[in-house]
């Protein structure tokens, strides 16, 4: 398995590509923008985007889907049935799917938005805006924050400490680092609504 990470300057968000070591069918995660450098990254590594997974439907993570579909005939996986006016294949909590040859385990963790998905492929955890290096995602309201924090504590922070955290914004991290360092887990009152 090979992981490529692309930072979109326009949307200030991360897009990821997961594929086999030597090219082939790949998964594109959160194409907030589908820019030429991202296309080059895909093509130079001999990947074909067979699948797209969206962590949630906010535009900085999904706006590039339409452009991606002009280049590749991809199947889209998301928590909502329709994103950017395109029909998706809905996935649900605790579901494990084989997508482009990879086993993907989904967790529904609403809070930042109502359709947030976190998913795990091998030891890689794609957290979208729920959880990123040093912070929790901005919640919709205080109630959402409490639920989100409970879900994170129970379902994510209990994963193996060496699990790699790949957020929608910011640098990568690990579960152990988040457990010990995450600012909002220690200072939840700092979150602004």
């Amino acid at each position: 398995m090979r992981l490529l990470m692309y930072y979109g300057y326009a949307n200030r968000a991360n897009t990821y590509i997961i594929g086999p070591e030597n090219g082939g069918n790949a998964i594109l995660i959160d194409p907030g923008r589908f820019e030429v450098p991202l296309l080059n990254m895909i093509e130079n590594n001999n990947y074909y985007i067979e699948s797209i997974i969206l962590t949630h439907s906010h535009s900085s993570h999904s706006k590039g889907v339409n452009t991606t579909l002009k280049v590749y005939n991809s199947k889209i996986y998301a928590a909502l049935g329709k994103v950017e006016n395109i029909r998706t294949e809905m996935v649900s909590n605790r579901e494990i799917r084989n997508i482009s040859g990879f086993n993907v385990e989904f967790y529904e963790i609403p809070g930042h938005s109502n359709d947030c998905l976190v998913f795990k492929i091998g030891n890689l955890l794609f957290t979208g805006d729920i959880f990123n290096s040093g912070y929790l995602g901005t919640p919709l309201n205080a109630f959402a924050h409490n639920n989100m924090q409970k879900d994170i504590q129970e379902r994510l922070l209990t994963l193996d400490g060496d699990t790699v955290v790949l957020p929608g914004h910011g640098p990568p991290s690990t579960i152990l680092a988040e457990r010990e360092i995450n600012e909002n887990l220690f200072n939840p009152v700092n979150i602004s609504y």
Partner: protein, 196 residues
Amino acid sequence: MFVLKNCSVEGCSSKSVAESGFCIEHCKDYGKISADIAKELTNESLFRARSFAHLNFEGLNFNDTEFINCSFSHCSFKDVNFSNSKFSLVFFDYSIHENVEFKECDFMNSVFAGSKINNSDFSGSEIVNTNFNGTEIENSNFSDSDLYLSRFVNSNLMKLDIVDCNLKRTDFSGSDRKQIKFKYSNIEEALFSKGQ
């Protein structure tokens, strides 16, 4: 991507030393594994999807080397030279660095979270979108570097030169900073508290 294997001894849940299949406690060939990997790191110029976790390196020269999707998690480095090397998605989390040279290196999307770094030199480097959260960094030099999007959240920083650096969206929230020289750096574009 690198894989951090579990120790293959039944009932042991610790992580393997590099790719040996055994944790530090059960690894009988630790010295040989260390020496073989040190030799490989000294001689080769490109490493992709490799784990070097839980190893100690001392007095070695790994300069001009490219690392992609590799792990140095929980490693210890003393008097090691990585100058002019490139790191993309490389994990140094919970590692210890004493007198380590990272001069004129490229770091992209890499992780030093939870590490202790002392008397080390990162000057003249591109350190983009790299995670230094929770680190303890002392007597070290980051001058003439681009720290765009990197994070030092909840870190303890002491006696650092961060002179003439690009600090656009560099995040120092929650960090404890003592004797930091920010001269000529664009600190107005750095973040010192969440929500800025």
